[in-house]
Amino acid sequence: MAESDRIAAQAEAEVAPARVAAGARVARAATPALFLLPAGVLIALFFLVPVATTLYLSLTDISTLTFRQPRWVGLANYRDLLTDPFLPRILLNTVRYVVLTLLFNVGMGLTLAVLTTAVRPGIGNQARALWLLPRILPPVVYVLVWQGISREAPYGLLGILTGSSRGWITSHPWATVVLANGLVGASFGMLIFTSAIRSISPELFYAAAVDGATTWQTVRRVVLPLLRWPILFVTAYQTLSLLTSFEYILLLTDGGPGFYTTTVWSLHAYKLALSNYYGNVQFGLGAAMAAVLVVVGVVVSVVYLRVFNFRQLVGEPRIEVS
């Protein structure tokens, strides 16, 4: 047998199993691909494509008139945005909304977590369940309750208690916006802080008790220092969601009363692009405002994961067939 034939035969013998292995590899890759397909398509269609679309639309002059054939205008929308005389007001509103609501949220969440873990578990659980109500109630119904309570005297509860004859939503729009959002948001911090407090080793509490610490001292010197990371996490998380959420403001005050009184960045973007006054829809400008939020959102989300230990979360699967 010629040398070349021998080599060919040998090569053939080597290739065959390799071909089988390749087939098996395809089959093995096909299974996870099929499992991931529905989720992958939905995520691509409604997360990834929209991010790109937002950025693209923000660079065009798309509006009701030019919806079919938007023209490329470069950074013109961003320039218009910067020269908008109402921008400072909206920025200020946004900062005010985020900071005030955040203070209420996190403070109330902390207070509730400490109180509900300090009393008997049964009472604590019931109080926590009660505080979840604002979150699970449909937003529209929750806002109706606020409208009712803040109506002018003698109908609204707040009016009766404070003697303010005007409706609270129009006379104190900021108080209503912050409180309404704060009551919804407090439960998030409450739950996170509760599980953090529960995971504190009981020895620390016994040691504090033996040393004669009062409840307040225990909270200040033992609980709060150990809650530093959860507090940071909740604050960071809530900041981003407050920055982008506008549902309750839209329903409560619709950005008013009057001119932009409670209009925040995300609400303004929404209204520019999608408010129902046809013929006056500035899609591109709204997209430019949204694009700013999208960029902030992506950056902050990635930072979260870096800070709050991403690698540990995505570790290899514990189990795999070889």
Binding site: V141, V223, L274, L305
Partner: protein, 274 residues
């Protein structure tokens, strides 16, 4: 805290005081729905069944109640069903299989879970119009499922991770397919997770306002949230009837919440935005 503080009654009183606004709000809703007029929390005038007339006749220019009710029911049930199935499939693959891009996919899911989806609304509006799915229930359903998938995948992965692998391994060795193992062994074992995610998705879809409000125009496709909102946005308002509509709309939420509380807490603590 494991030690009951000596003055715990004071703390209970403080808790009650802080919770007063929520209790007052729910009471207000209940009273206003049933009475002619309510001053604060005090019913004035007689009891008023007329508040409930929307149940049997259309009010204003609105469609009859059954239209938004059926739409909401379809919306919530389909969203919950799809979300549970799609999230479980993806989570199982991430939890049990090793494939190229696994880390990247999981990383993406995590980033998206933290990412505020509302900021994509303008682009989603545009995309649905391009796809011809604007002003359809199908479009809103797909968007809602997609936006909540990161949470669902992340949650279900946690449940699959905690299953012991031996049974699945044995089934695979005996020649069962991956699909069979997922469907007949893994899924039944994570029932608590499915219930938790399912309940959460039902509640969240039932209450969803901003997506249908933005992506649906025709009143024949309204959900309950939009039906209710049409009362809120009216200049002349009949609070009695609004409260009655609100009670009708919120009743299933309250029932579901009481039934599914145990499961739900695990999700809410796991990080829902707000």
């Amino acid at each position: 805290m494991p030690l009951l503080p000596p003055r715990w009654r004071l703390l209970v009183a403080a808790l009650a005081l802080l919770s007063l606004p929520i209790v007052a709000g729910v009471l207000w809703l209940l009273l206003t729905g049933w009475f002619d007029r309510v001053h604060g929390l005090l019913p004035v005038g007689g009891w008023s069944p007329g508040n409930w007339r929307f149940l049997w006749q259309p009010v204003g220019g609105r469609p009859p109640l059954r239209v938004p009710l059926v739409n909401s029911l379809v919306f919530a049930v389909v969203v919950a069903g799809l979300e549970v199935v799609v999230a479980s499939l993806a989570a199982y693959a991430i939890s049990r299989m090793s494939f190229p891009g696994r880390r990247a996919f999981l990383g993406l899911v995590l980033v998206l879970h933290a990412f505020p989806a509302v900021s994509l609304l303008i682009a989603i509006f545009y995309i649905l119009r391009l796809l011809g799915l604007f002003d359809t229930l199908v479009g809103v359903i797909l968007v809602k499922v997609a936006l909540e998938l990161p949470l669902g995948i992340w949650l279900m992965k946690g449940f699959f991770d905690y299953l012991s692998w031996e049974i699945e391994m044995a089934a695979l060795v005996d020649g069962m397919s991956r699909w069979g193992v997922f469907w007949r062994i893994a899924l039944p074992l994570v029932r608590p997770g499915l219930l938790a995610l399912g309940t959460f998705a039902l509640l969240s879809a039932w209450g969803e306002f901003i997506l249908p409000f933005t992506l649906i125009v025709s009143s024949q496709r309204w959900t309950m949230a939009m039906y209710m909102q049409s009362f809120l946005s009216e200049a002349f308002t009949d609070f009695g009837m609004m409260a009655a509509v609100g009670l009708t709309y919120a009743a299933p939420v309250l029932v579901l919440f009481v039934l599914g509380q145990r499961y739900l807490l695990s999700i809410y603590a796991g990080g829902v935005k707000g």
